[in-house]
Symmetry: C2
Subunit: 289 residues, 2 copies
């Protein structure tokens, strides 16, 4: 059920990107945007669509917000991969944008993908309620800017030259910015779209986001690059503090499992309808990529 719905979400998001980007001029920066938005698990977009379904919002409507968060995620990957940032050659098993084109195109494609995210959530198709569109955009800005994702990335860069290794609190704050804030936006989007109470989904998303990041650190140690689709072992060889280096491999796995239980418990009020989101939480810590 979960994997079917994840696959269906991925297909719908891909179709939406094809439609949206197909309307733009066929210049290199737009081709780079297509490249950067192709593939990936689409976990964030799936969380939007499933949390919307829980509140009776169809995927025909939630697809706009789902595609928006995937555009924002894609922008962050394109810029993170730049030589002056993580300097990665491979992403989702394909060359990164600056390797396939050049750095200028990667900067611009990332910039335009961020803009596209805000366009998609404020288009009238995203919600018949203007208040919902404004709220989605405001929350997206707070999740992704200097209070959210960019702060996390900046703390990550600062950590590389810090004299003392990061503490568990530091890493938790850093990772909340880097990945947690956007996962929270995604999993609460359904409640925002329905103008309903977002508190249960927020509790779910907080646990899920942290579990997701711990699992990522575990994969960096235990995965191989062909399966993961990007370079692995980089954090360990760079001597970076991670959940695994701080907790140890087994304790990190246990912590992730506890967080999955916590995420599932948060959704009890939704009944059987929430089963797919619970499966998603279990998937996050057992995935191989």
């Amino acid at each position: 059920m979960f994997s079917d719905r994840l696959g269906a979400a991925a297909q719908a998001i891909q179709a939406q990107f094809k439609h949206t980007l197909g309307q733009l001029d066929d210049v290199p920066v737009v081709r780079a945007m297509r490249h950067a938005t192709h593939g990936g698990k689409r976990l964030r977009g799936f969380l939007v669509i499933e949390s919307a379904r829980l509140h009776g919002i169809s995927s025909a409507q939630s697809i706009w917000a789902a595609t928006a968060v995937e555009a924002l995620h894609a922008y962050s990957l394109v810029h993170d991969d730049l030589p002056c940032m993580d300097d990665d050659d491979l992403r989702r098993g394909k060359p990164t944008v600056h390797r396939k084109w050049d750095e200028a195109t990667a900067v611009l494609a990332g910039d335009a993908l961020q803009t596209l995210a805000f366009e998609l959530v404020t288009r009238s198709e995203a919600s018949p309620e203007p208040a919902v569109r404004a709220e989605l955009a405001l929350r997206l800005a707070r999740a992704s800017g200097a209070e959210g994702m960019v702060l996390g990335q900046a703390l990550d860069i600062a950590a590389e030259t810090a004299e003392a290794p990061l503490s568990l609190d530091d890493i938790t704050r850093l990772q909340h910015g880097k990945t947690g804030a956007l996962i929270e936006w995604s999993a609460t989007a359904g409640a925002v779209l329905a103008q309903a109470d977002a508190a249960p989904l927020l509790r779910y998303a907080r646990a899920l986001g942290l579990a997701f990041q711990i699992a990522d650190d575990v994969l960096d140690v235990t995965g191989d690059s062909a399966t993961v689709g990007k370079a692995v072992g980089k954090d360990a060889s760079a001597g970076k503090a991670t959940f695994v280096s701080l907790l140890g491999l087994e304790a990190a796995r246990r912590r992730a499992a506890d967080l999955v239980s916590e995420a599932c418990d948060s959704l009890e009020g939704y009944g059987a309808e929430a089963e797919t989101l619970k499966e998603a939480a279990r998937f996050v810590v057992t995935r191989a990529h």
Copy 2:
């Protein structure tokens, strides 16, 4: 009157940036955002405040949209100045962000400034009407993404390696993206804030935006870098087609003057209240920086 109001707008925008950025963590990326949002003419923000005043909207309200467009403009400058783009060391008479910090900080500060722009227009302070906030954000996205500013920048980069020099139509389209779209957003923001007809302000803005760019090309030939606050003569020495290279210096100046008349004529319906915006149009082609 015009210079007083331009100065007042600049002060109000600076105070708004200080307040907004002062609430963020004092990390290098936030310090870089402060650096990048300091100074400048604030012409775009001024257009927001003045077009709002024409429609009876106070500067206490329009300051949010005015600061938003200046944040977006600042992001575009930080990224345009990067080594992989225009590779500039000097901006507004001060070192560019990547020179004062590094490239990673410049990428992230630009990213966060774009996000900040969307946060500022969707905050409830920007307008009591959610429909207005959503509309401001949607228009801002369209003006700045792969249909607007980023497209203009991409066409500019493509022009550098193009085999044939650009035509007047090409340059006009390129410059509409690079500067015109954001000037149009700014000058029509007042009508959007008031939910009024934006057509007269759009005509004004189209003429103003083109006049502004022609004047910029003239300054690149006739100005000196100390007064202009950035490197000059770069376009001519790079052999880039500009309005001046295509039209000649005198014809370019005449075209700019004609556009200023056109801009002023568009505002006839507003009566004496529009005098400041007319003065702004005259200033744009006579400025020395």
